[in-house]
């Protein structure tokens, strides 16, 4: 076994249970796992931001500008330096299998939401070709759910290249192809300002969807 992130050999722990059970396969070594910061106690109850108590400032702002669009966001890990490096390698360099390292935690994080329709964030054709895969589809597949396509996207700049202000004022890059009568879960890799998921959620709500929440790996 080797760590998918740092390629170091992982030595399986030998305990009494290894006598009667096969060794659990680990994807990530303990050093890498320790650098990844899990969100144990969500600070903000609406968006899982770690460093605030009760509703965070962003969420209060959202309540004012677009109330009732998104029912809540769940995340698994904090977006720290290690996570930034991870996203850079996984998404931008295109190292697809890195996601296996987080698969287990993603599945755990999605336990209550398996009944919902897992909707992925579409990429423009151009970007999907360049990257070779759709990151949000990959997450849904890693969680063992069926990705549902409800949206289309016009080609636009990467969100991560923009300043916060530009992001907030950007027009909606998505168009709804189909509405859903069932509750929907939007899955993405990072929740930064919440702009992307709210763009999608507002369209869904306008189309008559009963409830829209979101799930991201990093917050």
């Amino acid at each position: 076994m080797r760590c998918v992130i740092c390629f170091e050999e992982i030595l399986p722990e030998v305990t009494w249970s290894t006598f009667y059970k096969p060794v659990e396969e680990k994807k990530m070594c303990s050093t890498c796992a320790s650098k990844n910061e899990k969100i144990t106690v969500p600070g903000c109850t609406a968006c899982f931001r770690m460093d605030s108590k009760g509703l965070c400032r962003d969420c209060l702002q959202w309540q004012k500008t677009s109330p009732g669009v998104l029912d809540g966001n769940k995340s698994v890990y904090a977006y720290n330096a290690f996570a930034k490096d991870f996203v850079a390698r996984w998404k931008y360099r295109g190292d697809y299998v890195l996601l296996e390292a987080l698969q287990e935690e993603i599945q755990k994080g999605l336990t209550g939401d398996r009944e919902k329709q897992a909707v992925y964030v579409p990429l423009s054709e151009e970007r999907e070709k360049e990257r070779g895969f759709n990151q949000s589809k990959a997450i849904i597949q890693a969680a063992g759910l069926q990705p549902v396509s409800l949206f289309q996207r016009k080609h636009s700049e990467k969100q991560s290249k923009r300043k916060k202000r530009d992001r907030m004022e950007a027009e909606n890059p998505f168009t709804l192809i189909e509405t859903s009568p069932d509750p929907v879960l939007i899955v993405d890799d990072i929740y930064t300002t919440g702009r992307t998921v709210r763009h999608m959620a507002s369209l869904l709500k306008a189309g008559g969807c009963p409830s829209v929440s979101s799930f991201t790996i990093f917050r």
Partner: protein, 471 residues
Amino acid sequence: MISSIRSYFPQRLSWIPTSRPPHEYFELAGKLLLKHEIPLSEEQISHLVSTSVLTKVDSFERHYFGPRCRRCGNQQAHFFATMPHASCGRDCTYCRYCIQMGRVLACEPIYIGSSNVKWPAPAHPCAWEGTLTPAQEMAADELVTLVQSGGGERLVWAVCGAGKTEMLFPAITKALQQGKRICLATPRTDVVRELLPRMKTAFPQVGVQALYGDSPDKRGNAPFLLATTHQLYRFAHAFDVMIIDEVDAFPFHNDPSLHFVSQRAAKPEAAVIYLTATPRKKQKRKIRYKKLPVTFIPRRFHGHPLPVPQLKLTPTLHRSLKKGELPTRILKSIAEQNLTHRQLLLFLPSIKKAEEIARFLLEEGYDVKAVHAEDTDRAEKIAAFRKKEYRMLVTTTILERGVTFPSVDVFVIDAGHAVFDEAALVQIAGRAGRSHEDPSGNVIFYHIGKTDEMLDAVDAILYMNRLGEKG
């Protein structure tokens, strides 16, 4: 079965096209690129492919046990993975070893550019006006013959501060006059950064270019390139003269893929020159069995012997380091050293320790800065130290080689640590006494018990000094 095993071992380069039609795309000459790395439009690319200026080649080859990446030579199974590829709709294998340089996928070919372009052949490219010492001249002559005859390898084993760079000038001049293409590759970015201005002033008419991880100019279309060995992932049969500086340095010496790419980057008929001050065991063995011709220069360019390290036992060293401090004994010698005109280089075994000690010394009131691999403004700090803007530099093994400061003393703290092997210690000791004006310097290894590596390093230095006296 034997043939299947054999398929695993040789790294044949027969897939590189042998026909090299002439063309004028300098930025494609001898390149090995992914499609999106080619700075041309779709039509232009397909036109160049039809005229076989560019050749499409499968990115992986199969051997019995699995694939082999043709860009980096990797064939270890755990560095390959598959992904559902959106463009081709199938599960595609990709190489994780060289993914830092862009992803190589099984379904996407790599493009190899013909190396047959006409490089300018200036009559007098060299503007350097210094003179070589007799020892340097002898070595330089041997290298010129090698370049002229073309083909073959030679190792130049010269002590730290022998003037390896200057020794190369006649050979480089010769090659440029003949319209040949040269690459000087080294594992260290700092070395490339330091060499660039020196080469630019020595060869002003030739467009010397530097290629490294975040270099401003990435075109790589000059007849004379300075590059980190990692940049050679993008070249195939490109160079007539290949010079590899610091062959024994990390990461080159223990990364088989870098050996593979540097071999591939040179043309089959190229002259390959290796430079080092501290050959590894493998190279020494080759020298002993006369498999690798060698030029040995045991004397520095200024004729003075190498400073011999003093080993000083400091039993309280680890205890103090744990607290992020230095023992009083070392502090005292630092205080004494501060009264001299020389600057001070302090080597520590790890980045964390280097930062802690720099902070500690700052609190003690010294004029000090720390430089290490994760430092973003490392180049500026090194330049400032060279200009004598501050007195003391705390660093890790990244500055062990290739950098020159005119007049420094060198202290190694915890020289028994595993990162300081023989080669590293010899190189570190070689930082002292590198100029005409100040040909000596104090080198002190502080330790809590002598290690074999330290003793071997001292022996190696003494041995070279002995040889230097004779010659």
